[in-house]
Assembly symmetry: C2
């Protein structure tokens, strides 16, 4: 089949269902930021059933970095709650394959890797709270600069569960002092997608030596009158999973998320 | 050892730790309502590890009736997050033993039943949101009347997980029309303990034929100018677990809760 590549313009205004269809047809292999605005995008992690209890328990014990949206049945590729009819094996633009904790491949779909004992986990993503922050007039520096959000490995351990353990990873957004209260209020409404900040101010409190040298993503400047604000980050479960070195694990490629049918606003608690 | 029975007066003002100690000593075998006001009380469910994944997944898929506070490690009786040093086998005043889904015994501690493969689940309890409601001047009819809250089996199925499936059970509290908005706001702050109501008004919407004939608990009058308000209820996981008929499962006895060290206010999201 000849694949027609689509532009962002082509996909604007399409429903999540239609965008997933384009992705499934191979027409979109790029990051999903900015697509299906207002609809929740999700991180994907796939592990064998033998590891699924430990991973589910790890998420339950660390809900801020690992906010579970949906856990699929073993072997079932359809997120029946967040995107009925979708297929997590084909509806994400790009996937990663990890063997023994090391990245071994980046691929376009999971069809050649899928097994009957694989369990898919969809986890919340900070895209969901960045939109209401921007709607409130609060700028996201990394988006303004067109770079990835800066992320840091902290000195805070996650609560371990079975084979899974490791440090909390955080993302950082610089926020003007006069917007801090509003930022806490808005993000507190979204516990399903990392929720309220876990820290603001002195990065050393989290064991971060230099806020201009992130462990993942890109550095962004913190201006005079701004405070660095830290949120638990969805990289945590991936980092922890890699540390546990499962023989085989599958994830989305960073920034290439699963687009659900669920409106962001339905995840707000108040 | 001669057991000295304590009165509510004796326990007033004691810390959760001290109250659990009294319970462990056999000095308190009655319901825990009113004890350690301001501290979170929890439902207990214990299942073998072989059923733990399905039960954990059921809770993840049905967070309103099954708000997980903590899942203990297999064989570990200590809730390290919510009550370090405590023991779920001895620190609850009364327990129930279920065999093949049927109540087979009520006992004072779990020491003779405990196994290395048992997994303890602590689930949130509506006591936590009833206190801030009462603090806001909103009366809880069942507490005023000194009876159990009325509970109803609805026509809404829970999302199944493995061997666990069944209908949503709700509790009902009559609320004056002018307090409804405040009640939604206050309980929305506590997603970890059933959260916002799932319905208010016509009981028939939930398949409830007669709001004066609850399936569990006691009937309470709904006065003129009041609306029946329904919350997802912690009886749901117990009912569902019994329906799955595990060979052996252990729970607290109704009203005889596990008292944690966690202040209710720490569970509020905003």
């Amino acid at each position: 089949m000849a694949t027609v590549t689509r532009s962002m313009h082509d996909l604007a205004g399409l429903t999540p269902h239609q965008i997933r269809h384009s992705i499934r047809q191979g027409q979109w292999r790029r990051p999903t930021s900015g697509l299906a605005r207002g609809y929740t995008q999700a991180n994907l992690a796939v592990v064998p059933r033998a590891l699924a209890y430990d991973f589910l328990l790890f998420c339950q014990r660390n809900p801020k970095p690992c906010p579970l949206l949906e856990v699929l049945d073993p072997g079932d590729p359809e997120p029946r709650e967040f995107a009925p009819g979708a297929d997590i094996r084909t509806d994400i633009p790009r996937y990663r394959v990890y063997r023994d904790g090391a990245l071994s491949d980046e691929i376009d779909d999971l069809m050649n890797y899928w097994r009957d004992d694989f369990v898919g986990f969809l986890l919340g993503c900070s895209f969901t709270f960045e939109h209401p922050l921007m709607d409130a007039g609060i700028g996201m520096r990394h988006i303004e600069l067109g770079v990835n959000v800066p992320m840091f490995i902290t000195n805070r351990p996650c609560r371990p569960a079975g084979v899974f353990h490791g440090p909390l990873v955080v993302s950082m957004r610089p926020i003007p002092a006069h917007d801090i209260v509003r930022v806490v209020q808005i993000t507190s409404r979204f516990p399903a997608v990392h929720g309220a900040p876990i820290h603001m101010g002195d990065p050393a409190v989290l064991g971060i030596r230099d806020v201009q040298r992130p462990d993942f993503g890109d550095a962004v400047p913190v201006m005079r009158g701004e405070m660095p604000v830290f949120w638990a980050c969805g990289v945590t479960p991936q980092a922890v999973m890699m540390q546990a070195k499962p023989p085989l694990a599958l994830t989305h490629a960073p920034g290439h998320m699963f687009i659900t049918d669920r409106r962001d606003s339905t995840l707000a608690v108040l």
